[in-house]
């Protein structure tokens, strides 16, 4: 019996680029390059490692996003995933996390799965709630924020490092897992992997394929509304001194003037 793994990935604006909002207060995608969210690379890596340990496994990478989001799927395929599913629909523009989790859950059910693997958060919205939302919607256990993960038969195990304790978790498949950036370095795609990725299947789905009503997604259907977005004023230039032997004392004077000491 093959282990069916679905990895949810997101195509995000490059954080080193100049990110800003469009007139409708959604992300302006025109002015900044996109890429596979770095935190999702860890999810792909762990899926590959779990598949490597299984007798037989198949990895599907799944994304919801515009045409360009195919780049994120290609990157994951070049790392070694087997196939991809791309949910693309003009009506999806402006969908918030509630709508996205709904679309992903429908697409995961349609694809079929034993294990869903996510990154801990996207590097753009950084909410970190999508894996829990998916588990709730799919009605399966959440085994989230793992720095170590393994699958043994039909059991998934992992270590969750929290603020106050480190926990060993265990759940039966099917389940939703999310992994942190401590789960292990993500591999670089090899030349062979990049060439092979070009031939791997990418299935396109739209809202109709998922039996989803357009009024549950998009900007109009969103559960939240951004009322304003203002660029933070540039910080006024601070005082910068060169240490000539008294730098620590000068800094202490500043901290006194600000009442920190």
């Amino acid at each position: 019996m093959s282990l069916r793994i679905v990895v949810c990935v997101k195509y995000v604006p490059d954080a080193t680029g100049d990110r800003h909002f469009a007139d409708d207060l959604t992300l302006d995608r025109d002015d900044v390059d996109g890429l596979l969210s770095e935190l999702d690379e860890y999810a792909v890596e762990q899926a590959l490692q779990i598949a490597g340990e299984a007798d037989d496994a198949e990895i599907t990478v799944l994304t919801v996003g515009p045409e360009d989001a195919k780049d994120a799927l290609r990157k994951a395929l070049s790392m070694g995933a087997d196939k991809a599913v791309h949910v693309e629909d003009d009506d999806l523009h402006g969908t918030d996390v509630m709508g996205t989790s709904l679309v992903l859950a429908k697409a995961i059910e349609k694809t079929g799965y034993d294990l869903v693997v996510c990154g801990m958060a996207s590097t753009d919205g950084t909410m970190g709630v999508l894996p829990a939302l998916l588990a709730e919607r799919l009605g399966v256990p959440q085994v989230t924020l793992l720095s170590e993960v393994s699958v043994d038969g039909t059991t998934v195990k992992g270590r969750r490092d929290g603020d106050t304790a480190s926990e060993q978790l265990e759940a039966s498949l099917p389940a939703v897992v999310s992994v942190t950036d401590q789960s292990g370095e993500a591999r670089y795609p090899s030349f062979k992997g990049i060439m092979a990725a070009k031939k791997k299947p990418v299935e396109a789905l739209d809202l109709g394929d998922l039996d989803l009503d357009a009024d549950l997604v998009g900007l109009e259907g969103a559960w939240t509304k951004v009322e304003s977005a203002t660029e933070r004023p540039a910080r006024t230039a601070g005082t910068i001194v060169k240490d000539e032997g008294e730098g620590g004392k000068q800094l202490a004077e500043f901290l006194v003037s600000q009442k920190f000491i």
């Binding site: 800003h20 509630m98 970190g128 490092d161 929290g162 009322e227 910080r235 240490d243 920190f260 000491i261």
Partner: protein, 320 residues
């Protein structure tokens, strides 16, 4: 006045500071009703009443400690059903966000995470958030359902506002999904005696310039002189010089203290994402061109091995 549910983060009855901050914000939009779960839940009542909770709903059961997240969602949902609140506020911890998210699905509501401020609005509470590595400030509201909002630590002052704080036992029936993820074992993190990173009023961080785990004691000494938490950049964490739990940045923790002191940190966008909302920013770096200097209120271009110990000595002697 409308009631507002406030999820209580506590350790064996000791209420953590972010929850007390939440009570300040909750009072702006209604009467806070606190929900405290697990071992020591009833012991939270005095502190919660002192900070404005009109009522404290408590529940304890082995499920809260034995299984991940879902039993707490079942309980918060029970409180929601009992109270019919105008909003649900939860501290923005990793677990808090997961609990809030699952509750939002169940009650058909939208969710806003990591709010840094909250005010009453004509169409419900309006939340302030930082976006794109804090280069933008947004104001948002939940447009469907009863708003579920998680709030970052240090977003509001802790204010005493004595209220009734009547304790009531909350009846919780756990769903069959609540035992889905078993917590097989738990190893408490060893306390350093320093404040928790995300809650601290002052954070002292070290980066690549610290140049080795063996040198981090210089950063720790400065932190201790100021009663601060210790942070580290991703470079320092990836090099194994400091634990990941102390990482500040896009893939680590997001901090918003009154004072942030960056030592030997260049200030790459990934680090800035985690500290840019700090009120006052100070940096010590050898490289005058380091991007961190674009953010600072006060910067020292110099060798941290000279500057930091001198600063620590000054702080110690002035405090002494």
């Amino acid at each position: 006045m409308a009631e507002v549910l406030v999820y209580v983060d506590h350790v064996d009855g000791a209420v953590r500071k972010p929850t007390l901050e939440l009570l300040t914000l909750a009072r702006r939009i209604g009467d806070p009703v606190a929900v405290a779960l697990g071992s020591g839940a009833e012991a939270t009542a005095a502190a919660l009443a002192e900070h404005g909770a009109v009522k404290v709903l408590t529940a304890d059961a082995p499920e809260f400690g034995d299984y991940l997240v879902v039993p707490k969602v079942d309980a918060l949902q029970a409180a929601y059903d009992a109270v019919s609140p105008a909003a649900v506020l939860v501290p923005s911890s990793a677990e808090g966000k997961e609990i809030a998210a699952r509750l939002a699905v169940r009650i058909g509501s939208g969710i806003i995470t990591d709010a840094t401020d909250l005010e009453a609005g004509d169409e419900g509470p309006v939340a302030t958030q930082a976006a794109f590595a804090a280069s933008f400030t947004t104001k948002s509201r939940v447009s469907k359902g009863v708003p579920v909002i998680t709030v970052k630590p240090n977003s509001a002052p802790v204010e005493a506002a004595p209220a009734a704080g009547t304790v009531e036992a909350l009846t919780v029936s756990f769903g069959e999904k609540s035992t889905g993820t078993k917590i097989v074992s738990r190893t408490p993190r060893e306390s350093t005696g320093r404040p928790e990173l995300t809650e601290a009023a002052i954070v002292v961080s070290g980066g690549r310039g610290v140049n080795g785990a063996e040198n981090f004691h210089i950063i720790e000494a400065l932190a201790d002189s100021l009663g601060a938490a210790v942070g580290a950049s991703r470079a320092a964490v990836d090099a194994g010089w400091y634990p990941h739990s102390n990482q500040v940045g896009q893939t680590g923790k997001s901090v918003s203290p009154q004072l942030y002191i960056a030592n030997g940190i260049s200030g790459a966008i990934q680090h800035r994402a985690g500290m840019q909302t700090s009120k006052t920013i100070v940096a010590v770096n050898k490289d005058a061109e380091a991007p961190i200097f674009d953010l600072v209120d006060y910067g020292v271009v110099g060798d941290l091995f000279q500057v930091v110990p001198q600063l620590t000595e000054e702080v110690t002697s002035r405090k002494g």
